[in-house]
């Protein structure tokens, strides 16, 4: 994968701490309340996973954020304004909502040019993004000959045309093979490392667990939780596994902090209901060296399933 050109966010975005702000957003389709009073915000420079089972309201929420669907009530802003009031939205936000949004008889390059020309982006940028997603060799072929992975990358290229500060991706890993998922993960990490923001939706936590910093989980259109992955694991009974040459001292230090500990079969220390950051801080304060520090216990997928089945604490 080619390296992404990093840049500092523009001065306009620096004045806005919340890149995305959703206030009591609701959407009703007849009798069905697809999104129910959804309030959340996303800060600049983060990769946020937007999670929920199929039909939870993720895509509807994204469409409202991006001005494609009108909320029944509530409002949302992107970079401080409703999407349809942004002066140059393509230069601020890139979005991929479906991997199939192409005319099959049009070439990949022409697809990008129908978008870039509409907002005055030069053809040189089209060629840049084609190279960025490694599609320059297929640029003049009709899209109907593209694989799903190529279509995903063409969608991403379209989103990147305006060199945006925010990427919004709806289920981008759907149908990708493991190599494609890895490519996407590396790409997003590279993109976000320059201080940009990513919001990525998925119905499979494991698909994006290695990519995101934090998660928003919704179910039945309602926000279930908003936290970092470590907090999420800890809140539902996660375990931090520690290896140290001085386990007894570390166990005592943790217990003084009110943390319950136990010992695993392979003689590692297991700290219950905390985070690895907290364990690391306690070890440092106690002057104990650490050889291994990892969060385990409930798998993230179990946590996700618990939360979306309504059995976990809010």
């Amino acid at each position: 994968m080619k390296g992404y050109t990093h840049r500092i966010p523009t001065s306009e975005s620096e004045h806005v701490t919340s890149v995305i702000q959703s206030d009591s957003l609701s959407k009703r389709y007849g009798e069905v309340l697809a999104v129910d009073n959804l309030t959340f915000s996303i800060e600049a420079g983060t990769i946020t996973g937007f999670l929920g089972p199929n039909g939870a309201g993720k895509s509807t929420t994204l469409r409202m954020l991006l001005g494609l669907a009108r909320p029944t009530s509530g409002q949302s802003t992107v970079f401080g304004s409703p999407y349809d009031q942004l002066k140059t939205p393509a230069q601020r936000i890139g979005a991929v909502l479906e991997a199939t949004d192409f005319h099959p008889g049009r070439s990949g390059r022409d697809h990008l040019r129908t978008l870039s020309w509409s907002v005055g982006i030069p053809d040189s940028r089209v060629d840049e993004v084609l190279a960025l997603v490694e599609l320059q060799g297929a640029a003049k072929r009709r899209v109907k000959g593209y694989s799903l992975g190529m279509r995903q990358r063409l969608g991403l290229a379209a989103a990147l045309l305006g060199d945006p500060d925010l990427l919004v991706l709806d289920e981008p890993a759907n149908g990708l093979d493991p190599e494609g998922v890895r490519w996407l993960r590396d790409f997003l990490r590279d993109f976000a490392s320059g201080g940009r923001t990513v919001l990525i939706s998925s119905h499979v936590l494991a698909e994006i667990a290695q990519t995101v910093d934090q998660v928003l989980i919704i179910n039945h259109g309602r926000l279930v939780t908003e936290s970092t992955l470590d907090e999420l694991t800890a809140r539902v009974g996660g375990v931090v596994r520690v290896q140290s040459p001085h386990l007894d001292s570390l166990a005592a230090a943790l217990q003084r902090e009110g943390i319950v500990t136990s010992t695993s079969n392979d003689h590692a220390l297991l700290a219950q209901g905390t985070t690895k950051e907290h364990v690391g801080d306690v070890a440092l304060a106690a002057g104990v060296a650490i050889h291994e520090l990892v969060t385990e216990g409930s798998s993230l997928e179990e946590v996700f399933l618990d939360l979306t089945s309504g059995t976990a604490p809010q």
């Binding site: 494609l68 939205p89 936000i93 008889g105 129908t114 509409s118």
Partner: protein
């Protein structure tokens, strides 16, 4: 202007429009060569009979309307309405741009269709030794009326595509209206039928048929149809969610 360039690229970058254009050329040539060659001479003795024969190029209006319909319906059919709307969230501006693109492509269809029919048809009639009764002014009215009418059908097609985003539904509706409903209404109730868009646009080409509106009135009626449909189309486009 950027958006219009992009819309015109959408038209040029698939085979749909070129297919429609080739279909128009084939149909125009076939009809013109057959009718101008085979029509009995005693049916070509008035200006109206000759004008009616040479007005077949206005069939380009059907092709222009289909191309206009595709400008919206193919966006919905293939999902490109999503990236299009993300790049251009002002839907009124998007609609206006597509109308302009529909009119421009309609002009091309009109020039090709009526240009072929008139030039080849007139040539065949002259070769057959048929005395030409049309005056220069009437010839201009026929040609300009056919081309402008076809351009307006491009706009009407765009509006219909916005009103009925389902491509099959829009195309069937358009063809059923143009070839069945209007002809039935005009056949049985010509005083009403002449105000319908196909027959109103026919009247833009001059007195090619009895019972049609005068040319200027026909032009005004077609424009009114285009405006009313455009108002409905843009209203629905603004209200409708892009799913």
């Amino acid at each position: 202007m950027n958006q219009l360039r992009a819309e015109l690229l959408k038209i040029r970058s698939t085979r749909t429009t070129i297919g429609l254009l080739l279909g128009l050329i084939a149909l125009a040539l076939l009809f013109t060569i057959l009718t101008c060659t085979l029509s009995p001479l005693n049916q070509l003795v008035t200006e109206q009979e000759q004008a009616s024969l040479l007005s077949f190029g206005s069939i380009a209006g059907v092709f222009a309307a289909l191309a206009g319909v595709m400008l919206f319906t193919s966006e919905y059919r293939f999902g490109t309405i999503r990236p299009t709307s993300l790049f251009n969230p002002d839907r009124r501006s998007l609609f206006a741009t597509k109308i302009a693109a529909g009119v421009l492509s309609g002009l091309v269809f009109g020039v090709v269709g009526e240009g072929l029919v008139f030039s080849i048809g007139l040539m065949i009639l002259k070769i057959r030794g048929v005395p030409i009764f049309m005056t220069g002014a009437n010839e201009i009215e026929l040609i300009v009326g056919a081309i402008v009418g076809t351009a307006l059908w491009g706009a009407i097609g765009v509006a219909i595509g916005s009103i009925v985003p389902n491509q099959v539904g829009a195309v069937i509706s358009l063809l059923a209206w143009g070839f069945v409903v209007e002809n039935l209404v005009f056949g049985f109730l010509p005083k009403i039928g002449r105000f319908l868009p196909v027959h109103a646009s026919d009247s833009m080409m001059g007195p090619i048929e009895d019972k049609l509106l005068p040319g200027n009135a026909g032009t005004a009626v077609v424009i009114a149809w285009a405006v009313v449909l455009a108002i409905i189309g843009v209203g629905l486009l603004k209200r409708r969610d892009v799913s």
